[in-house]
């Protein structure tokens, strides 16, 4: 079982994410919908990748696949040198908890929890102690500029602030990859800029980011 403190030993020259002829089909009634067709993808550590395409092109499906929320119909997927294509549900949950940080378009914070408690969610499932995770959550809140809002509920925050909480949450378990699905989609341009600045900073600190967007400005 993977634990947050497991240090991953892998060759820096090898990609941390490799997809080999990955396919995903959906069965819709009698017809088979082939959403992903033999995707080959490799991403190295520290890369900042933007996935672009019109709606319905399978961006979200690909993102779900990268985020281990879904299993491919065929092909192979190596994450950090480990094949995850045929893992069972518990193991996939573990991988998500330990290696992936999600940032969603609609923030997806839990309404009844405050800022730190929201940030603590992935740490909770990774077995951090209460004290440890509370400390780390405060630290991360400071990192995204919300040190003075830690006791607020999501409803008391602006959209940009909520998205910053979501980024802090994604960083909680020190993931290999941060997946951002249209992170600025629900935000006004100023807040969106703020978010992109934070993501850029993370990239410059050596994080691997994969961002799905249809805004060409972000991609470049």
């Amino acid at each position: 079982m993977l634990k947050y403190h497991d240090t991953l030993e892998f060759d820096a020259n090898k990609p941390i994410l490799v997809m080999d002829k990955l396919c995903k089909n959906y069965q819709l009634g009698s017809t088979q919908l082939r959403v992903l067709r033999e995707i080959d993808l490799s991403i190295h550590s520290g890369e900042y990748v933007a996935i672009m395409g019109p709606s319905g092109s399978g961006k979200s499906t690909l993102l779900n696949m990268i985020g281990c929320l879904d299993r491919p119909s065929s092909g192979d997927y190596l994450l950090g040198g480990q094949s995850v294509a045929q893992l069972d549900d518990d193991e996939l949950s573990n991988i998500r908890g330990a290696r992936i940080g999600f940032v969603f378009q609609s923030f997806n914070l839990i309404a009844q929890l405050n800022v730190t408690e929201n940030i603590e969610i992935p740490m909770y499932y990774q077995g951090y102690s209460e004290q440890e995770s509370a400390e780390r959550a405060r630290e991360l809140a400071g990192l995204v500029g919300l040190a003075d809002r830690v006791d607020h509920r999501p409803a008391e925050l602006s959209g940009g602030q909520q998205q910053r909480v979501a980024i802090a949450r994604a960083l909680g378990n020190n993931p290999l990859i941060i997946l951002a699905d249209e992170p600025t989609g629900n935000l006004d341009s100023t807040s969106g800029e703020d978010i992109l600045t934070i993501l850029d900073r993370l990239h410059s600190e050596g994080k691997t980011l994969i961002i799905v967007t249809h805004d060409e400005g972000i991609a470049t």
Partner: protein
């Protein structure tokens, strides 16, 4: 340790989301509160009634066989003309026959029971005169408190002595010491040689005794208590005739004994001896002027009846608990679909299916267990009220508390498992998209 911390945090989380919906949680828990408290109070009432009946019967003695004189049904053959003297009932010969013909008999106690007025100074109360033998205390729960009981010398010389029971002592003598006083019963004075306890201390026993008092000619229920006088003395001074004034005129009756109590050595000889007595009496009594009561049989009947009673009460209560459980399941299903998004987020953040199950199950359990604890409090209070206002005995047993608590936990798990399972098996992608 890790498990403990997790548990603590899960409970905290559960309390938080229950607190978010206070009204909903309270209403849901109410179902369990009422269910649990009704289980406890129903069982307490059942248990109380059962103990009452058992004690009542135990007072009569489980090794005893009580044969009583009853007024035989009127014989129509005597051509409408009523007999002037009616002679019936148990006789001294019967007692003699029991002693000679029936094995396993330990003690035989023949009794006279007469309702009379007792007078001390200017105070008059009605009492039940029990003409009995010195070994009467062996077969009855009556115990001597002070002085002595009747002796064989009293019997032999037909002495005018008596033993009064507590209530007579209190009602008739007040603050005087009854010992060595003289009390007038009927036409004669009797020397009080002892004070005994009452026949039964619980009201229920009193009720039973008065109901079954053999010859309630003057309304034995009105008697204050009992005065024990040697059987021979009673025979001598009161005679065996009694005159009953009815609407059409007088009716003269002759009864030798009102009851004979036979005690056997072992409890398993009771039923056999009862049959022997039955046969013996049937041979010598032409009229059906006796009635045999076996407390052991009554005890068995009461036990059977109580079991049915408890089952019925328990099932009614269990149904209310079931309804409460269904209410909980309903609410939890609503909660799960309301929190679909949260489930998706938690799954994306690394929660396994069993983490989700654990979370929702612990919420349900918190609801049912707190409902169970409150239900136990309420369920222990209701029997007190029933006892206070309903004059009914109730017994809350530790077993019923544990049972009720266990049931509430079981209800929580049973009715919480399905919603939790549903929550855990939602597709994370779908639930993240859920609005």
């Amino acid at each position: 340790m890790l498990v403990f911390f997790r548990l603590k945090r899960t409970v905290k989380l559960g309390l938080k989301s229950l607190w978010m919906h206070r009204l909903r949680s309270t209403l849901t828990a109410l179902g369990i509160i009422f269910g649990v408290s009704s289980v406890i109070s129903m069982l307490a009432i059942g248990e109380g009634a059962s103990r009452d009946a058992q004690e009542k019967i135990a007072q009569l003695g489980s090794r005893n066989i009580i044969i009583k004189t009853v007024d035989p049904p009127e014989e129509k053959s005597s051509a409408g003309q009523q007999q002037t003297l009616k002679e019936y009932g148990l006789t001294y010969t019967d007692a003699e026959r029991f002693r000679n013909a029936i094995p396993d008999v330990r003690v035989i106690v023949p009794n006279r029971r007469i309702s009379e007025q007792a007078l001390y100074r200017y105070k008059r109360v009605s009492v039940e005169v029990i003409g009995t033998v010195p070994w009467y205390p062996e077969i009855s729960p009556v115990r001597l408190q002070r002085g002595r009981f009747l002796s064989s010398t009293d019997m032999h010389y037909k002495q005018g002595v008596c033993v009064v029971d507590n209530r007579v002592a209190k009602e008739l003598f007040g603050f005087d010491d009854p010992l060595n006083q003289y009390v007038k019963v009927g036409k004669d004075y009797y020397h009080v040689v002892g004070v005994a306890t009452e026949q039964g201390n619980t009201p229920a026993v009193k009720k039973l005794n008065t109901e079954e008092a053999s010859a309630p000619k003057n309304g034995a229920g009105a008697n204050t208590g009992a005065i024990y006088i040697p059987l021979t003395t009673v025979k001598n001074r009161f005679g065996e005739m009694s005159l009953q004034i009815t609407g059409s005129g007088g009716k003269l009756e002759k009864i030798e004994l009102q009851e004979i109590i036979v005690q056997v050595r072992n409890i398993d000889q009771v039923l056999g001896t009862r049959r022997s007595i039955q046969t013996l009496l049937a041979r010598f009594h032409k009229k059906n002027d006796y009635d045999i009561t076996v407390p052991l049989e009554l005890m068995k009947q009461a036990r059977d009846f109580q079991r049915i009673f408890t089952i019925v009460l328990g099932s009614i209560a269990a149904i209310s608990l079931l309804v409460g459980g269904i209410g909980i399941m309903n609410i939890m299903l609503a909660t799960v679909s309301e929190r679909t998004r949260e489930i998706g987020i938690r799954r994306a953040c690394g929660a396994k299916k069993r983490d989700i199950i654990f979370q929702f199950l612990s919420e349900t359990l918190l609801l049912t267990l707190s409902g169970g604890i409150l239900g136990i409090a309420l369920g222990s209070a209701i029997p007190l009220l029933v006892t206070h206002f309903g004059q009914m005995r109730t017994v809350v047993t530790a077993g019923s508390l544990i049972l009720a608590f266990g049931i509430s936990a079981a209800v929580g798990i049973t009715f919480g498992l399905y919603p939790a399972y549903r929550a855990a098996n939602m597709d994370p992608i779908e639930s993240l998209r859920h609005e």
